[in-house]
């Protein structure tokens, strides 16, 4: 589906590359890569199995800790996680853990998906709201334990941001959809175009199911409250178009992307790869406050994207409804704000115009709204078992990420932990009844 410009950046490892690379792993004991992985995959274990030619076992080792291993192999910021902790990184290059994981996952999916054992039916049902990584992980983990799981998904396709929000360069849509199919094979049912608050009632779910897991993600991109904002494209929609219909997508000649997080970087990449002459990112704070991973920032610089720090958009400029620029002011850093970051203040008389025929904003998504639940800094509050303030109602994924950076692998771990908590709750109640 992707055009060449957004074709998956890393080719699969060849068998030769995988075997040579797997032999580089020292097979550390209690390895730091396992600690660094939020789902604590037995990384030396699965790599050892690649080196011995036990690919079936290698994939199963990954699935034991992470049902969405194929997505994680592609989208994880491995420099900040497993590979960043590799002991070989101290003196030379860390083992390519992400690409080896993809090698094992590809092997499994090319042969019809992993062989995962499913426990006998427990006769209990669980509802999962949202079919993103957290929801799929939770549903899969519950299904393999023998529970009947129904996932309610508001969109036409399941997979959440893996399907719609990660550029094809990192993860083609097919990779996400094959994981969705695998979760369905484990027994989870997915009902699409069912939205909480619309045609799904939380109250009804709580009545019909033994437990409910909310993995609703976040809302649309936050408003910037500047004149002409209606002319600004939403960054997540922009990425979604690049996945669903890259050929039909309209790309400006001079594109400005507002924001400096990982989504902003993806938007800039889409613009650049699909034909924009110039792409400029504007961010009101400085490089130190930027939330994009350092390796992503390095990537975008090599793509030829210009980044303007300490630059605040103040007004969209358009003629006859056609965008022709973005007015900005220069900023300087003042004292630290509530997030601990120094907050930017405008420099008087510094207004200037960035010529642009397309402006995209990626300045963070709006907080989730689920009535009746306690929140923490706008996110759904949960305890260590991922249970919300309402008994039997669990939550995970981006909608609970009040601390730390939101990522696919964290969402997968949430789903896994919540499934374990839900399972033990259900099994406890079955035992008590006997």
């Amino acid at each position: 589906m992707a055009t060449n410009g957004l074709a998956e950046a890393f080719p699969p490892l060849t068998q030769q590359e995988a075997i040579v690379e797997s032999h580089r792993c020292l097979f550390c004991y209690d390895a730091p890569c396992i600690h660094a992985c939020p789902t604590h995959i037995d990384i030396p274990g699965f790599i050892k199995k690649i080196s011995t030619g036990n690919l079936v076992g290698s994939a199963r080792t990954i699935f034991d800790s992470n049902l969405l291993g194929a997505t994680c192999a592609r989208v994880c910021p491995v420099q900040e996680l497993c590979e960043g902790a590799c002991v070989l990184g101290k003196d030379h290059k860390p083992v390519m853990i992400g690409r080896l994981q993809r090698y094992a996952m590809d092997y499994a999916y090319e042969r019809g998906g992993p062989a995962i054992g499913i426990a006998p039916p427990t006769g209990r049902s669980v509802a999962v709201v949202g079919a993103g990584p957290a929801g799929l992980s939770c549903a899969g983990e519950l299904a393999r334990r023998g529970h009947s799981v129904t996932i309610f998904e508001k969109r036409a396709l399941a997979g959440g941001l893996s399907t719609y929000g990660i550029i094809s360069l990192r993860e083609p849509m097919e990779a996400s959809l094959q994981e969705v199919a695998m979760i369905e094979r484990l027994g989870a049912k997915i009902e699409i175009e069912r939205e909480l608050g619309g045609n799904v009632s939380l109250h009804q779910l709580q009545k019909d199911f033994a437990a409910v897991f909310l993995s609703v993600g976040l809302g649309t991109t936050q408003p910037m409250d500047i004149p002409g904002e209606e002319l600004i494209l939403d960054g997540l929609d922009y990425i979604e178009s690049s996945k669903l219909d890259p050929a039909g997508m309209k790309i400006g000649r001079n594109v400005v992307v507002i924001g400096a997080g990982n989504t902003a970087i993806d938007c800039a990449t889409v613009a650049k790869r699909l034909g924009a002459d110039t792409v400029t990112m504007v961010y009101r704070r400085s490089a130190q406050e930027m939330t994009a991973y350092p390796h992503e920032f390095e990537f975008i610089k090599k793509e030829g994207v210009t980044v303007c720090f300490l630059t605040q958009p103040v007004r969209m400029l358009a003629e006859n409804g056609r965008v022709n620029g973005l007015e900005c002011v220069r900023m300087e850093l003042g004292p630290a704000d509530g997030s601990g970051r120094r907050s930017p203040v405008p420099v008087k008389g510094s207004a200037f115009i960035l010529p642009a025929d397309q402006v995209v904003k990626a300045v963070g998504q709006q907080k989730p709204v689920v009535a009746g639940l306690q929140t923490e800094r706008g996110f759904i509050q949960v305890n260590t078992e991922l249970e919300t303030s309402v008994k039997g109602l669990f939550a995970g994924g981006d909608c609970i990420r009040a601390r730390g950076s939101a990522s696919t692998v964290m969402a997968v771990q949430d789903g896994k932990l919540a499934a374990a908590a839900i399972h033990s709750r259900i099994m406890g109640s079955i035992m008590n009844r006997r």
């Binding site: 020292l26 004991y29 209690d30 730091p32 660094a36 996680l81 002991v87 070989l88 964290m410 932990l417």
Partner: protein, 461 residues
């Protein structure tokens, strides 16, 4: 610069490196190119009676990313006509008068056959003859090769037949497929052999193919034992070389030994020299990388000799032999412990698991605050590069409990990170042999041993 020349029982060569009798010395053209590359000598691939070879002749043992740590073969002696070999040997020797050309031979076990082949070899102008008593496969089924080398009496008898007529130096090549390497060596020397060489290849089956369930290499679906050689056999060869060096019978004869078995680098070469070799033969690493490896063999050996102030190969030869000892003569009071250089340690914890699971449980893990911690003591919610790296515990040796087994030293993947440090044991030096003589009860009775340990302060963990 060190002088690498050798004079081996009268066979002279500009350096101690000879190609061993094997596929690399199968033809005049090959030996010619090897000499161009700088090899000091070549032992021609064994000539003898007519043979036919099979295909799929070589199997190999690989480990990790390292290919061919050993090769195994079922190739026979030269399958080229005798006349062709003899003519090419004469041509090569004429073209390279300064290099050692030794001819390996193996014939039917009759005096006539041996007399005939010796005369024909001498007619080529070759510098020496090597008697192949070692080939473990094929030829041994016909009563030659290892079938001779494994029976000291045959070994002696045939060597006598050869020595009756030979006018050039004769080297007897020994098979390692024996219980004691000393017996056939003594037999060859008793018969007047000018020199010995060892080791020939080791009996082996290199593997089984897990797809076809056939033996590797598969010869039309069949397979069998073949000769094993290459870096993996080096320790076996060193031991057999040292066994000859430590045997008074062999040493009294004062004949030189040409050593081989896994020599791949100048470092290996130096070790063989230190254990008594006078010339060195190489095969598998040449089959792996080609004749060009001679450059670093000579260059590295020469530079090492310079750094140690050795001027000639003769000065190096046998320097470590006096250290070869029986267990009973080791000092039981010598104590070494492992020490980890924390500035070099990458915290892979391979030392920890090796010690904890399979040795003496004397490496502990410590957190940054100096508290002993268990493996996997992080919370399930902990993750990320920083937390994993910053809270990674440090392995540290509990020296009071370390028996000095050296396992951690061996598994550590970082150069010079773990060292074995000698520490005073506080005990008088004593050997097992001395104990047997002075306190026999300690060596026979556990209660006496217990008292002895308590008295001398030997703690067993």
């Amino acid at each position: 610069m060190a002088d690498l020349k050798i004079d081996f029982a009268g066979i002279r060569s500009p350096n101690p490196f000879w190609l061993a009798s094997a596929p690399p010395t199968n033809s005049g053209a090959q030996v010619h190119r090897a000499f161009e590359a700088g090899w000091g000598g070549a032992v021609w691939k064994t000539i003898g009676p007519p043979v036919l070879n099979v295909s799929n002749r070589y199997g190999a043992w690989h480990f990790g990313n390292q290919r061919m740590l050993a090769i195994n073969n079922v190739e026979l002696i030269s399958d080229r006509p005798l006349e062709v070999n003899l003519r090419e040997i004469a041509e090569v020797k004429r073209a390279w008068p300064g290099r050692a050309v030794v001819v390996s031979a193996m014939v039917e076990s009759t005096p006539e056959a041996w007399h005939e082949i010796i005369r024909r070899i001498e007619d080529t102008g070759a510098d020496g003859i090597e008697l192949n008593y070692g080939c473990p496969h094929g030829m041994s089924e016909r009563g030659m090769g290892a079938a001779v080398g494994q029976v000291p009496e045959y070994c002696e008898q045939i060597t006598r037949w050869v020595m009756d007529v030979a006018r050039i130096p004769v080297i007897v090549k020994l098979t390692p497929n024996v219980t004691s390497i000393v017996s056939p060596a003594r037999a060859a020397l008793a018969a007047g052999a000018s020199a010995l060489s060892l080791i020939n290849t080791v009996n082996s089956i290199v593997g089984v193919d897990l797809d076809t369930l056939e033996i590797t290499p598969s010869i039309g679906g069949k397979g069998g034992h073949g000769g094993y050689a290459g870096p993996a056999v080096k320790p076996i060869a060193l031991n057999m070389l040292a066994a000859l060096g430590a045997d008074p019978g062999v040493q009294t004869a004062g004949r030189p030994i040409s050593a081989m078995g896994g020599i791949a680098t100048w470092r290996d070469a130096a070790e063989f020299l230190l254990l008594g070799a006078s010339s060195l033969q190489v095969c598998t690493s040449v089959m792996h990388y080609g004749f060009r490896i001679i450059e670093d063999l000579c260059d590295g050996l020469s530079n090492w000799m310079d750094s140690k102030d050795f001027a000639t190969i003769g000065e190096v030869r046998g320097l470590s032999l006096h250290r070869i000892s029986d267990f009973k003569d080791f000092d039981l009071s010598f104590q070494a412990v492992a020490r980890i250089d924390e500035s070099k340690c990458i915290r892979c914890d391979l030392c920890y698991v090796a010690c904890n699971d399979t040795a003496h449980q004397c490496i502990d893990l410590f957190d940054a605050a100096g508290q002993a911690v268990s493996p996997r003591s992080y919370a399930v919610s902990s993750n990320g590069r920083r937390e994993a790296v910053e809270t990674r515990p440090q392995p540290r040796v509990r020296e009071a409990d370390c028996v000095g087994c050296r396992l951690c030293y061996n598994v550590c993947p970082v150069e010079n990170c773990i060292s074995m440090v000698e520490v005073p044991s506080g005990r008088e030096p004593v050997t097992w042999d001395q104990l047997v003589k002075s306190r026999p009860e300690v060596t026979e009775d556990w209660d006496a041993m217990k008292k002895y340990r308590e008295k001398t302060g030997i703690e067993i963990h």
